[in-house]
Symmetry: C2
Subunit: 259 residues, 2 copies
């Protein structure tokens, strides 16, 4: 499916008007069904939709093992996906109730605060030390992959990798979707997340930290700012957090002794 | 309440390590109750919380007249607000059910797609022509107000104004929250929105269009990119959409004849 669309625009620059064609990023409503029951509609960039679905279902605790998924069928026009999962607990069935819509900026979660509350049980003990020069190199590699952003200016990017290189890369109008996509790729490929790291162009808020913590990912690097809650959670969960990673600069928010 | 927090960071630049104090933006969980029943938790920047509440309740169709609100009481530590509203329809009470958490990027909405579906009834017919030089001037004024972004790099800004100047301004970790804040200010001051415009630093996705359309706001200007769905909705709803408004440049997406 097309992820960008050409539209006619009037470009004005210093008093000069020019009509031309320009690319805008596609915002696509995508509805996830579980065992034929509607779960949620996500506004997203229509690429890597199976990966997005898997990442989302893990992030939101609908599944916790990739083998719970028996099949995934994408509907006509990529507007829907039906995920056939093994029947599980009442908890899961309870979640089916109601109908929610998730917009582009969101990794929405009814159980979000339950997770924050149980953060002591999510503590990550395995470390992933990284040298500043490796951060610079990874972010350089990461920025080169950002094609859709250069074309449309309308997406965030996420990468999932190891210290020596990027394994998966995704772009989406929503930074949470982009993260769910690369995490979904990891789940689908049977990746062990314990020695991986997340790269992001977007601001790091608490939900991004929690998505990483659920997979025991020990390191997050972003070219943007973290929030106070992300910094606090990083310290409590033992996730190393690096922000403002641009060129040969970066800000380290915890685990200082590793640098 | 403090909207930024000083944390110790290790700044690395070209191989030189420096420990210093830096400001990060506060991410604050804020729970809205209606008539003592929990409605939603929003992750936000803890400033203009009454305005955020009012804007959110209008955006999500919990109220459609400011006079429905009899009182608003902010709890200790600004963690909660209890909004006393006049008893209304079953529709409203139905919405009380369940508990949702809304993260920083979101103006989340169970009824979102109902609104998209009913867009023909929301068509805006009153125009608000603006000259390119007024756009440049407004965005210049708007950018000067962005103090928290300069300090933390972690917020989006929104303005609500008229062609000749900005009336309300807000910053928040979430671009939807920032918009709800200025819209809430408008509602609280009894503003008629029909000759107002929205200014934003953030990308314009469909939810931003819909929030504006609900108030009959005829013009949105952003320094960032719109999505395809935002462009389509702008055309269908009759809202003028200007993106990439930076310096003396801008991209116009519809209503070309006005420029």
């Amino acid at each position: 499916m097309e992820v960008k669309k050409q539209v006619e625009i009037l470009k004005i620059k210093g008093g000069v008007n020019e009509y031309l064609k320009d690319d805008v990023i596609v915002e696509h409503p995508f509805t996830i069904f579980i065992n034929d029951k509607e779960l949620v509609t996500i506004l997203c960039t229509p690429r890597d939709l199976k990966e997005l679905t898997v990442g989302f279902l893990f992030s939101e605790n609908y599944i916790d093992d990739i083998n719970e998924i028996k099949a995934m069928d994408i509907g006509e026009g990529c507007k829907t996906i039906n995920v056939i999962v093994k029947e599980r607990t009442q908890t899961l069935r309870d979640k089916y109730r109601g109908r929610r819509t998730i917009t582009s900026g969101c990794g929405k979660n009814t159980s979000f605060y339950n997770i924050v509350d149980s953060k002591t049980s999510m503590k990550i003990t395995k470390r992933l030390p990284i040298s500043p020069s490796s951060v610079v190199q990874l972010m350089g590699e990461f920025n080169k992959l950002s094609v859709l952003f250069k074309e449309t200016g309308g997406v965030h990017s996420c990468g999932l990798g190891r210290v020596d290189g990027i394994l998966f890369y995704a772009e989406d109008i929503g930074r949470h979707n982009a993260l769910d996509k690369v995490l979904g790729s990891g789940h689908l490929s049977g990746l062990s997340f314990e020695d991986t790291l997340v790269l992001s162009t977007g601001r790091i808020s608490s939900e991004m930290l929690i998505k990483a913590a659920k997979r025991k990912i020990p390191l997050i690097i972003s070219r943007s700012a973290p929030t106070s809650l992300a910094v606090e959670l990083a310290k409590e969960l033992g996730i190393s957090l690096i922000g403002f990673a641009r060129g040969n600069k970066m800000n380290i928010y915890n685990n200082f002794s590793e640098y």
